[in-house]
Subunit: 246 residues, 8 copies
């Protein structure tokens, strides 16, 4: 951005742009304003013209509007998270959308070739954490990574986790996903040498308080190298894992 | 108690006690009322004339009064918990008190011979949990048990815990004590075949919220056979362990 | 497990197994990996080839897959908890399932002969706590225990509880189940000589905060010998009661 | 009860009852055990053979069973709280039930003549608090009181409250019902000379946290003479008001 | 107040007061403004010229100023709550103050003759709750009541409470004071026929969360006729008890 | 009001009104009591005979009753907030209602001419906050203001916000609306010279805890000049903005 | 700022500044970096060269360093908030500091002439809220306002508040400061026509939870025109009041 | 570890180790058990024989014991966190300890040469966050990194942060440290392309609730690539940053 400003000032100096135009340019933004949203074209993924839409509380019309704005601006691959089955049905009518119901993720433009060998490991405490894990896994894949899935390896049966000792020791980053007491993050953090991204899930009942128990547990992990994202935030973990690996 | 009532009614019937006396007897209580406390002589420990005083918010004078009432009523061994160094000093002037500063426990009348071989295992996540562990250990010893201590075996270094695999598998009951994320209870619960009493501690900072994190974690343990007592309640765990073993 | 390792090493020494095979064996796990779950065959119940499935957030397909894996591995009796009516209907099509709608429990392979006379007492504060109580009772029965039910004996009408004084005094372990203020655990804990497993329930409204009130109340019980499991965790209480009795 | 015991002992003495029968009688309870409930006949209202059923989490069948048990035991008037429209419809088929949909209250046997002139005042902060207020009002009426209703007199329009200064000053007890910030209790408590029963309601949104805001506000009232019952507990307030007036 | 306004209007009509003076009078207040406080002379106690000062966060100078203003305005008896030993020492230099260190209460002008026989019963769960109980007891005595104290009758030893069955059944109002699990209020509420004022105390540790546990427990009491005041608010309970009795 | 009282007293003096009538008048209220509501005619908006109804938990019948009372009392323009689509449909049958489904706002009597040029700026962090923003915008418009909308300018893409630097610097008051981490308020507060009204929204998931995260964030803003209203309280922000501007 | 950029670009064009210098200028900041702080010279008060230092967790040496940096940069008047007595003593040695111990505020350079007549009213619920009120009052005075103080006018004695009806009706903005139940904000909000800034205080005990009770109460105010700042944030309220008035 | 096991099995096969010795070796642990701690020699840092001690709740004697055990086992460089001034004084008597009072960190064996150019950027919202930042900075330096410090760049003065745009854009990982509303993490996360480790601090008052506000804010960051560690956990952030960079 500094370079752009420098270039702009040089253009002003040598007269190839007027002062008013330069001022305008300084305020121009790399986004398109479509009323209910300011569609951003340089903020996020930046890998192979890929962009991301958070679908949760947007109407299908809004999502379609944003997709159109993106495609028009040359984004070839789009990831939509928190997309309900109903909205996916509607969007499929207009676009070539690949939809993963479990993870509530929709993808336009397909997955890229994975650039690297298996470096991101995604582990879950139980079967019920799989939807969050798949959100993380598909996000990481969409961003060009190869992912290893270790599901249902919770600490109440340590041998299930220890049987995957190799994968854990060879990972570049591990995403540990668990609800209830969330101990998986600490145990993996104690074994592994790489950064561990802990994702608390809302799986559980009673005093799990919708994921609060796992969240606090993970924040207080006695293992070093563990950091935490929001409850059920599989996307955030997958995105961050990609950042760390690259 | 039913037998006592039956005996009483028989006495009424055969005239060996008057109706008014019987009524009075029905209301008589096995405790001494010393104003600020109703000293109870049958409620708790009942092993070898042993009794327990919770010292936390009692004045030294109140504690001394209760001790006197107990001794007068033939309790030969007394355990005082949550006893500060200052109060212990004052009580030592009047009684032959054995004091454990780390555990804040005072004992009159000494420990009994342990009736059983090592069955109660007490494990802590870290060094800082030791005071709570000692409260549990001394309580269990006072009640006639032999105790195995496994300190600083937190889940961030699994090999430290696994090196004590034998003690864990042979225990009749395990007390798992940990602050921070409290994952120790789940991991031990997953390994052991016996009841696990989880004691969350207030060790930690920030989002451990004075033990809340470990408490929630332990309540949501995915391992079966785990139950929980109050934060820092080493006494309760030691007392319950004794109950289960006997 | 130590013995198995020793045997393995001996086999290596005398050449009856190759080094690579031994290494493989060391990493082999007594579970079957069916993708979404690692079905565990030695972790839990171990009484008469019995196994347990937590049905809450699993799909019917996943549950059926796990049942098949279990039956194939010689588990003859299976307990499924948190099983909705709808899922039960679907499973009944494939298996001989006994379903208890109140407790949301399904059982394959029936109940065993109870090994012991009435030792586990299950008490509830009110009528609304019965589903949790039945989850505990059926779990304990499934594990081979005879259970005494004392329902609707809350502390607001002490005479209802006191009329069952005999059962309480003769119990080996008592499960005290209550919502709202959860005082039942303390009152029973004060009367009984055996371990009391307290189960807070989400029964109540307003400041019961989905069971938080009863949970805190039970954790702070002034009666010794009381420990607590998660809100509405009838299964956990029944399972632990079985462990203590045996 | 003491008198009954005395009488019993006299009967034992003069031989008009055997010891075993006396023992049995001592353990006999003034309730009927119908399995899912122990229907209590002396615990509660005791005014004119009136009894109360908390309908919330009972099935229609259970409620009908309890009603039958009560009628059989000579309770002529029955109040059922937290009774949904659906359950009321079902019960109406078997009994002559007067149903108040707003307050979710059903009454069998009608209201008694009010014994006293208008002494209980029930005030609400807003229109939305009326269901809770009606639960209180109908309960108090059922117990034989005349009730004055002051609805929608919240503190944001003080003149609406002050226009009823006379009713407030002449009340024997006031029930102040409000959600949101719950300030009504303090303002009425500052004006009145009589006990004020504060009922926080779950009316509000956002940081009212389902009534927590009003609850805390009322507990911290700077006006003396104010006490608080559970969120939305109109019944409890009406019942207590009757107790205080009588 | 209505009468005063009517009188005022009549005076205006018959010319015995000018319009401006009447207007002034309407706005005149029965309090003295001493800068940091508006000392109120008609708001509270009104029994025998008695007044109350909440001493907590006032400086000794402020308290002395308020006392002087009260005495000057003919208040003969003054109750000061939450008065530390240090402040009491300073105030004693200027006034004839009777100080109760345990309850942190100071009294000027002494106690009145009790107007009624023992009607207010004050019960505590343990010895540690006594300071709060004494605040309640002294407040009630200051307002002219005779008080019965039942200390250390917690539910973990029911016989201690039941031995005072007579006092409980004959009370006009009972103040139930307890920390930890706060079950005392429910048990007493289930036994008694009169209003029960529940006072949670901050006695306890860990998950008692400074009284939150007892507070929630008491708010959710399954016994009818129970209402709650703030944590440790002995004064409020004593004041309200007096209101109900009178 | 003081003037009215003075006038009343003068009327008493000169005999143009009797004492009893004056007394009555003093107690008369500028509201109509329609049973379930006391419809207030001078409390709120007061701009061009406009009035406001909070529709949330009122029945359609109640809302219609209040509208009728208002119209009868000469209120020409009415704003109804939190009005569901269903209720709006019913009300449209009787009245000429303009309904905004997104904002859940209904308006009778239309919008006034805006009195001032663009002074109130309403900014949102994301697309999902728009319903709350529209509630604020329509309220402010209804009260006679011209509003500038800056939607989807969250801090994760600062350039989107900075591109509207002019609007921010020229505002008289800014309403900053955001869920999740609520940082928008601090960033705007740091840029702007005018008061900032922060509105946390319940947009988000997991540890946003229904808006708690944004609420706390905004309350702790390190920027001066920021104050906060309730979660999702767009109406309150719009109303207050109008007050500040005028 | 836009103008400055335009000017800069013009200078570039006409050659009066080099491109590199312009780039440097664009990045130059109106603050001085003194290592532990970046002292800001245009951010805040901007009235008469006045600046503000938040003294809470800064060392005396840091505060002195910041003062020196400010004076050197021509700030003539400085306000220091949250300044302990000890720190004030140290700072007085180097600077001419006016210190207000109650409000923990220190001022260098004195107060300006008040520009307007009494428009800001500051009201407190009790005597204990005065320190927070003085922080607000001194801040507003420092910024050039005349302030009216109404202390100890809590809602439990409405007549004390109503006796100041004139001040309330004539205010341009009111700061309502209260702890405990925080009802003052709603009552004043219901009376006044101007914006009300509510300041919850940590005054209270038990379930006031350090100000949480008052905070929630004020956020849920049923009166329109009320917004809230952080607990005990007198400075923020005084600063915002100045912003609104100007 | 797999290799070690393989080697062990080979040794068993070729008879160079006995079966019993192999079994023993399999259970041998790379830690020294000194009673109150199991000093771990391979778990953590592993860079240049460096080890870390968490000093918080350990006694000076325990810390000294652990240091001795480490030195004896060839650890040449030791980092001690949360070390109070008093403990540091005592330890200095025995060892050559470099102590940083602000960060509460002690170092034995000095800092290594930094292996990389400035890649880790540490930014704080205010001056008060510096102690936490220094804990992070010294930890990262101890692990061989060069650190760039950007202190007091909170979002309320965006220009202070933006003036360091270059450092932010060139970082490999950024540690964003802030209390109060914690918005710094989101703003930096929105600007930067690298992973951001957010550290909430307990700086603030009132509704910051000891760091809860910043914690929730950071967990809900709308910027991707942000993860969170415990409140005030500077060490954890520094340690993780090192892991990511390497």
């Amino acid at each position: 951005m500094e370079n752009e400003i420098k270039k702009l000032l040089e253009d002003v100096k040598n007269g190839s742009i007027s002062i008013d135009d330069a001022l305008l340019r300084l305020k121009a933004q790399p986004f398109e304003d479509i009323g209910y949203a300011k569609v951003d074209f340089h903020r996020r993924a930046r890998q192979g013209a890929a962009e991301i839409i958070y679908g949760e509380s947007k109407t299908p019309e809004q999502i379609i509007g944003i997709i159109n704005s993106m495609l028009k601006n040359n984004q070839k691959r789009i990831l939509i998270t928190r997309l309900s089955d109903e909205k996916a049905e509607l969007i499929k009518k207009d676009f070539d959308l690949e939809y993963f119901s479990d993870a509530k993720i929709g993808i336009i433009g397909g997955f890229p070739e994975a650039e690297n060998s298996k470096k991101i490991v995604i582990a879950t405490g139980g079967t019920s954490d799989i939807p969050v894990a798949e959100e993380a896994a598909l996000t990481a894949s969409f961003l060009g990574n190869d992912v290893t899935r270790l599901y249902d390896v919770g600490v109440a049966g340590l041998h299930r986790l220890l049987s995957h000792f190799d994968e854990i020791m060879n990972a570049k980053v591990i995403i540990a996903i668990a609800g209830m007491e969330g101990a998986l993050a600490s145990v993996i953090g104690g074994l592994a040498d790489c950064p561990v991204i802990a994702v608390p899930t809302s799986v559980g009942y009673g005093s799990s308080f919708e994921g609060l128990s796992a969240l606090l547990s993970m924040l207080n992990s006695c293992a070093s190298g563990v950091s935490v994202v929001n409850i059920d935030n599989g996307f955030g973990a997958g995105y961050l894992a990609n950042m760390i690996v690259k």
